[in-house]
Symmetry: C2
Subunit: 321 residues, 2 copies
């Protein structure tokens, strides 16, 4: 049996055909071009799905089900994107019904980070566990939770919004969501850049990142990780603090969900095993002894394929026994 | 069908026979007397179960299954209390096997707060919902999570340890567990008393609680709630802050689990609807709009029966279809 998964992002969308074991047979990326409107967007989704089927050497008749994952505020059971921050000016987009009607296949709909979690659970880092929490480290911090093969999508489609647990009261940072003290306001790439600018304003020109900022005109989280790897003290401290913040996030889920495994995915995992080791270190310091000693903490394994593989898994969930 | 539930606490243990609909037919309390040792404790558990059956006018033959709930560090699947803080000097107590052997019935074992959550889900505040988070407000802050009728007990028996999510980094309070910044260090009855003493040391004798402290020699959380209800400004501020801390706990679970309902149980609910209204107020301010508007926030309904009713539900889960 074959399933198509589609992962819609702010800049590109990626679709692939996935076999029953979770192995992709194809993958195709097209630009999302959200600014061209949601009708265009729905057509683009269907086109990406068609191309994924064709590039796998298959036809629609070979496909048992389809899954679509999208970002933003949504109503998962209704299959609607409500008001997506990264897909403006889309509003109330009936993704599931549209895709189901066009292809005439059982069609699932899921939050993108939830889908990525299910992808890693099915075919990636979590493929041998019963329960898994995924933190996606990109511009912000997303998340997904899988318990016993099922995504914890929540009663109001807000399950796994791990970037928006509050971890600070006294001096809380403003989050992109408008709230204060969210994990994302500390540990996402955007937060790292902000914290770096603040730190550079305080260090009297000593850090190597001043020169990077002067020559490039801006800083990225990647610059900060690179400077830390080269021994820059200020950058090293910022990265160490980031590992601590992420460990708090992991620990809180370990005391709430207590999963077999906590997985970190997304662009920031390019920082490598040293960064993961620091997260592990802080988790061991922070958490209760038994989960601290026994919860596996790993990087994701599917890279940017996790979303469409997980979306395909959602489709598969509709038809597989 | 009838089930026996037993809820073992630090000072008393309570057992009752429960019918299929979750209604208790009897309940019996005996002192735990943990100091007399765990052999005595296991005998006392069996005696409490026997008395509950007898006081319901039933015999062992009428009982389909038994469930036992206990506090403390435990291995739930193994049915063992490991090192219970409130049941010293017990250690590695094989509760499940002992009770199963004595009565020859299917026997379940569960954490006490998890059992209380399942009790409220089965027959109390959450009896019409799909998913529920319970905070138990006693000396400390406990918790239990039920999703789709199943307790989230976690891979290492640490699911629902809601009192030990970290909510503060900058100036974190020391928790009874030895960690810093746990919700319990802010919002349990013991934390309220501690915060009250700190506040009284700062207010130059104005609060009415100074007189309470002088005459009684000590303060309880109940005194602080009572003073707040009588218009004492210092007490009012402490209770308002407590509602805020609990709202953070609720909000974090709403952004992680996103349940239908968040329930507050335990002794502190004696504070009444005004206190619950303040928790609700802060949740509305803190949480994402959709869960804030739609998540029900309630007090528990089963009082101190929740534990044995939930334990009976765990037993029932072993045999009911």
């Amino acid at each position: 049996m074959f399933y198509v998964g589609l992962d819609v992002g702010g800049t590109t969308m990626k679709a692939g055909v996935v076999e029953d074991g979770g192995v992709p047979r194809s993958s195709v990326s097209l630009p999302t071009e959200a600014s061209r409107g949601q009708e265009f967007g729905l057509d683009r989704m269907c086109e990406t799905i068609r191309q994924a089927i064709a590039s796998a050497g298959l036809t629609l008749g070979d496909i048992a089900a389809i899954g679509v994952a999208t970002p933003g505020l949504m109503d998962i059971p209704a299959g609607i994107i409500l008001d997506p921050m990264n897909l403006k000016p889309w509003k109330n987009v009936p993704v599931k019904d549209h895709v189901a009607r066009v292809f005439g296949k059982p069609t699932a709909f899921q939050n993108d980070a939830n889908a990525a979690a299910l992808g890693e659970f099915w075919a990636g880092a979590g493929r041998n566990v019963e329960s898994m929490v995924l933190f996606t480290l990109g511009t912000g911090v997303g998340g997904g939770i899988v318990i016993g093969g099922k995504v914890v999508e929540g009663r109001h489609s807000h399950g796994g919004e791990l970037g928006h647990m509050k971890i600070e009261m006294t001096n809380p940072r403003l989050c992109g969501c408008g709230r204060f003290g969210c994990l994302e306001a500390y540990a996402g790439a955007m937060a790292i850049v902000k914290r770096t600018h603040e730190a550079l304003n305080q260090d009297a020109g000593k850090s190597s990142l001043h020169a990077v900022l002067r020559s490039a005109g801006e800083l990225t989280a990647r610059d900060v990780f690179a400077a830390a790897a080269s021994g820059d003290g200020l950058a090293g401290r910022l990265i160490e603090e980031t590992a601590y913040y992420l460990a708090i996030g992991a620990m809180n889920t370990m005391h709430i969900i207590d999963p077999d495994m906590v997985v970190f995915g997304g662009g920031m995992t390019a920082a490598g095993e040293g960064f993961l080791a620091r997260i592990r270190h802080h988790v061991h310091e922070l958490a209760f002894a038994v989960p601290a000693a026994n919860t596996e903490i790993r990087y994701a394994q599917l890279g940017t394929d996790a979303g469409f593989i997980g979306a395909a898994a959602c489709g598969r969930g509709l038809v597989a026994g």
